[in-house]
Symmetry: C2
Subunit: 288 residues, 2 copies
């Protein structure tokens, strides 16, 4: 396994792989890796085979954090990340620095963004207004630097994955986007680097997100008729907020292709939710 | 010479060239080609050599026109364009259709844009608010489809060339941007497909743009001190508007690297201007 820290070196390697015809699988991450990330790496390896190259990027991307958010405190542990990558059979860990990714030169600061304008409007886009602009921009940059054939994203960030797919189609990146299933703790909590923020007490209460998703699924599947989203919404909010540390940011039911909110919920709809547990904001989603 | 109309076919060819290591030179155009475009093609050939591939795209890009602008009437003559390309030694003419470039599917319309946010603010960006968003977006798309090593843009669209350079740097496209000099008629009028709109009378008056640039240069170079931009501005406006069909949209003096407007003009500054001659909007620029 090789660690690359320079954008130019990474891009040179990528061009060599393009020329030699080695398929490249890519897993972009913000580091502090967990079993969810490892499952994405496995998926990448599955697709590119033994002869292919698997690249993991580790970059806590500042442009996807608002000034009020947790950029400074976002957990980092590069030594552990490298060990996990080595164990997972990663070929290249790409760890660029901020000044390389976002040049700040007097009179010539970084000034170009990729903006997705339809799928980004609701949910995370509403709660975190410049978040997806930052995500789309850094993914476009990383695609140009790593030049992958396939890239793997986690289903936990469902809206993000849809936006990356849309951006890839719209801007004609020759990259296949694969969305891999969410990995969960035994009690259903979706793995996330931000789970580290939770106290033991909060950690127990955080299972509420997954319980809400299951509850919604059961209610809808048990019914012979579609169920009003507003009714489900209040039931789930109540269910979640019986945990004293939990406060719902949003719960939304929508068409998983168009992201249009649904007034009535039936099988095949999608639920996504964001919940503060203490000060930690967690998200999750699932098919109804 | 081969004419390619499908995005997928063009991208397949591009991937083959990447693999075989053939350098690719690219000249994106909106067609209705003239000697200015031919000079860009020559520059591309110069750079990639005989073994390289030269691609010209012809696409009247709707996203860079405002609803009030001349998209529908923009001159088109594909047969003549092909002949010119053949004569200039072009290998591939890429002529994609609108529905391929901007998919419109119910619930999944095209929705991703590339936005440059600093150099785009003044001049053309001010007069044509969504113009550069359209330009940056289509150039990003074309770079992903054609995957060139070098791309050539004309200096006549000076601000556009700077924005394309910035976008290429910021999004890490592995493409060298070359800016080739403006080709002019004997009386100094910059070649432009839009010159076709001019009546004989307007055509004669259109030389005023170039005369204004030369006048500014002479005034500044004859002076031992910097000259206030406001003074130059009124002088040139007067000079241009003595032509009855001419009306100045803007005249601006700025630093050619940062695009910051200058209050005082000296050698090395840049001038850009936009002038309506009759109903036709013409632009030009030059170093002072």
């Amino acid at each position: 396994m090789r660690v690359v820290t320079s954008v130019a070196a990474m891009q040179r390697l990528a061009m060599e792989w393009n020329q030699s015809g080695s398929p490249v699988g890519f897993v972009p991450t913000m580091g502090y890796l967990h079993a969810g990330h490892v499952s994405l790496v496995r998926k990448a390896r599955e697709r590119v085979g033994k002869r292919g190259v698997v690249v993991v990027s580790i970059f806590v991307n500042p442009t996807q954090f608002a000034p009020t958010e947790d950029l400074a405190s976002y957990p980092r542990d590069l030594q552990r990340d490298k060990k996990l990558c080595r164990g997972a059979g990663v070929d290249i860990v790409f760890v660029p620095g901020n000044p390389q990714m976002y040049p700040a030169k007097p009179g010539a600061n970084f000034s170009t963004y990729v903006v997705e304008d339809a799928l980004s409007r609701g949910m995370e886009g509403l709660s975190r207004p410049t978040h997806f602009r930052g995500v789309a921009t850094v993914v476009a940059k990383l695609f140009n630097i790593v030049r992958p054939d396939i890239a793997v994203f986690g289903a936990k960030d469902f809206q993000q994955a849809a936006i990356v797919k849309r951006m890839t189609r719209d801007l004609n990146f020759p990259v296949s986007i694969i969305v891999a299933p969410t990995v969960r703790e035994p009690d259903g909590l979706a793995l996330s680097s931000r789970n580290k923020y939770l106290s033991a007490d909060e950690r127990a209460q955080a299972a509420a997100l997954w319980q809400a998703i299951r509850q919604a699924r059961q209610t809808v599947r048990a019914s012979t008729q579609p169920i009003p989203a507003s009714r489900l919404n209040s039931e789930l909010k109540w269910l979640i907020e019986t945990r004293p540390a939990a406060r719902v940011d949003y719960i939304e039911f929508f068409d998983p292709d168009t992201f249009q909110p649904l007034a009535k919920v039936e099988r095949g709809a999608h639920i996504a939710l964001a919940v503060f547990v203490g000060k930690t904001r967690l998200i999750d989603n699932g098919r109804i």
